[in-house]
Amino acid sequence: MKTPRRIAAFFHRDAETRALREEMQLHLELRARKLHQAGHAPAAAGFAARRQFGNAAVYQDQISAIWGWNVWERFLQDLRHGIRMLVKAPGFTAITVLTLALGLGINTAIFSAVNAVMLRPLPYPQSERLVSLWEENTHPQDQRFSSSGTPVGAGGPLGRTTVSVANLGDYRACAAFEGLAAFDSSAANLTGMGTPERIPGEAVTWDFFSVLGVLPAEGRTFLPEEDRPGAELVAIVSHEFWQRRLGGAPEALERSLMLDGKPYRIVGILPAGFQSPESIGLKTPTEVFRTASYSSDSLGNRGDHDVNVVARLKPDVSVTAAQAALSAISVSLGKQFPGTNRYFRAAIAPLRDDLAGSVSQSLWALLGASGLIVLIACVNVANLLMVRAAGRRHESSVRMALGAGRLPLMRQLLTESLVIAVAGCVAGIALGRLLMLGLTAIAPPGIPRIESAGMDWRVFSVAAVIALSTAVIFGMAPAWQASQVKPVEALKTAARGTGGASQVRWRTALTVAELALSLILLVGAGLLLRSFSTVMGVKLGFQTDRVIAMNINLPQLRYPGGDARWQFFQKLEDRVHALPGVVAVATANRMPMRGGWSSGIFVEGDMENEYSPDFQAVSPGYFETLGIPLLRGRSLTLQDDGKSVPVAVVNQAFAHQLLHDRDPIGHALLRGPGEPRIAIVGVVNDIRRKGKEGQIKPEVYLSAGQTALYPVRLADFAVRSAGDPHALVNAISREVWAIDKDQPVTNVQTMDEIIDEAAAERRFQTLLLMIFAAVAVALAIVGIYGVLTYSVSQRLSELGIRVALGAPPRAIVGLVLRQAGMLIAAGIALGIAGAYGLTRFLQDLLFEVKATDWHAYACAVALLAMVAVIAALIPARRGARVDPAVALRQE
């Protein structure tokens, strides 16, 4: 109908009402005058005029209804009344609003993180069509290695690897893709612009930017002919690089950059804020992109899996359909190239999900936990509303006795809940913002996009919907209850101030629910805590204290081969070893927990089974620096160089799994038929290379002096010091520059720092879940305390009679505690059932702990029962102290 007019009239309704009154007044006067003229006495005329007119008040009401004002008026009336009642009870209002705000705040904070990390689209056009592509090694032998020990959550599917360059062309031919590009991080030594620096870079195929749908802001993207070995060297730089290092000058295009000792012409500058999939979530975004220019060697080698792949699906092609097409290609490649491809299958997943990776599981679990907190908060608020409704039974029954309908009464109470919900929502969102700041501050590094968590329409509407549904669902119970008041009975009992047995029943049920919900959270927190302490207790197998590691990436141009690199590091080892406070030095391709290399290998005499252990190329000082004990045979020495026979040291797991516990010394390894024979000369202790949550894998340690034989680059340097290893960093850097003044030293970290960082995500999720459980228990305690206090106050006269009849205080305490015990037992029983159902969703986050671990259940039950009984003791003792005279006088 004419809604705008109604609304406009609503705001002028006072003026309209006045105008109507004036019209009606005029009418009455004119009629009275007419009647007077017809011969009535003036008083009689006025009276007759009014009778003829009818009840003006009723007509005014009708007019209000015509304009639809009454609905609004009534709502505003309810609202005013509600706000007045809430202001009159500031304690009640503060507690309810705070409870709601706490629940909503926690939920809002976690949801905004979930939103930032997993729900918001990636910053690329039509990013929902982007998928990440990888290869999975389905080799049965590797499966056997991986399944030794409990599966771990973090780390993605077993056997996942990056993609072989040679397979790229075959995947590109897949009809499901509009485009497919490969990229790989490839930091560059930047020289000729002040101190040599290593800057984050990527090597990408020429179509990388067009697959992502991003065009350079200045200049152009790469051309196909630039993505070939021997082509002109070109680079595209980030906006930030251009601003910071090139001063944002427009003539930066076409300028040349010295990267790894070679000049690169800048052909494009990316738009501000561009993040490649590789650098999303990193504090150091990629600054320079170069063409991958794969050599014909790598284009022909299907056995090395080196590059990341992003692909864009054609419109209307689903991930499932694309996966099916891709699997067919993998199978046919497996038939064509059984040697390399038999066990490898390409797999895809939406890029966004893949980037969120392992953290999405913990975020979902935390979101679920925060949902439970919202529920507990709601139950608490419902509980508080019930108390309040009970306190106002008298008011309700008087109003009903005076003719108020049940509906208006319920509407009044619901409006009050709504006021509370809106206040709670506002406070909750404010609190949520604060908590979010805290959350992003303590969040472990490497959660993509969490730093950009903030309020957007999704976060806001989720909070609003939760708050409003709280108001309706949990305001409904007390409102319904109040409307069921039988005025006569209520007025009779009102004198005694009782709320009736149904009140106690309702509130008992709510408290049981609260206890059950908090038990679920406690069990969850317990499981994570046990996992955390298990992880912390894991022995790495090497000593991390007082060891500092750094990356010294020698550019190919200056150090073309393995021998040149080894010469550099040998020189460096000698110089650093001579520094005071240095105990041992080591060079390797990668130090533990800093990446690694794995490759196929055969044991001499068994060319049937190919294995893929981890490979390290290490200098003789490696085992001493990391404190890895030698168990049998000999260690590597400086004599194991290019002029002597290739040798290797293996670990126990290698001996166990690949040699079936035969003595490794005397055995030899081959990287393939016709490849040089690598003699095993020693056995060292097992270590967990990938950190505490990683598994012990078979390891092969090759000699750093023989790396010319293998596709591996020495790049990591580590020092064990007598004191604080940080104190040595400057001295070590000086020694590096004394050998080569253009050589950057990067990624300097102590082993302890690395371990700490690796534990950060687990610590984060455990800490948060423990905080949640604490909040839940606190809310539940408030609930149980409230319901028992209430029930004691209800039974005051009964308890008074008992005391008067000679019941000792202990008996009274026992009476109340028995009631509490029933409640707690029911809550715990329900909670155990709930936890059993829900904690299985945590399984992936647990480390060597089952979701049904009885320790966690027992601790949670004991803890909850203990605090609940303590909370119950206070009202119980109050009941025992009741003065029978006072209690009976109340009767």
Partner: protein
């Protein structure tokens, strides 16, 4: 009071009567509308005069009439109602409906 026997206005016809009244006159205020209906029907049709006002408001909301404040001859403020275009169409519709209904009633009442 008039000597004629007074009758309640049949339900549903008040709005039609008001529309017709306004169609036959210059803008009128509420009292004048009531008077006009009373006089034109020779005192037979009697409104409970107050009920005129909810009806007028309803018609204002539906845009059938418009109301403008002006002074009466005695210099009192009053709202003068007049027909809008929409009101004219509504009047035609109501007259049409009324004619059909009364014809139907007449047909039934006709002696065989």
């Amino acid at each position: 009071m008039s000597a004629a026997k007074r009758e309640e206005i049949p339900p549903g016809t008040l709005e039609m009567l008001i529309l017709k009244t306004l169609a036959r006159n210059k803008p009128l205020h509420g009292f004048a509308i009531a008077e006009f209906i009373l006089e034109t029907s020779s005192g037979v049709l009697q409104v409970e005069e107050g009920s005129l006002y909810p009806a007028l408001q309803r018609m204002l909301l539906k845009d059938w009439i418009s109301g403008d404040w002006a002074k009466t001859e005695e210099n009192r403020r009053a709202r003068y109602y007049s027909l809008t275009g929409e009101g004219r169409k509504q009047l035609a519709r109501e007259l049409d409906r009324y004619a059909r209904v009364s014809q139907a009633i007449a047909a039934i009442l006709q002696p065989v």
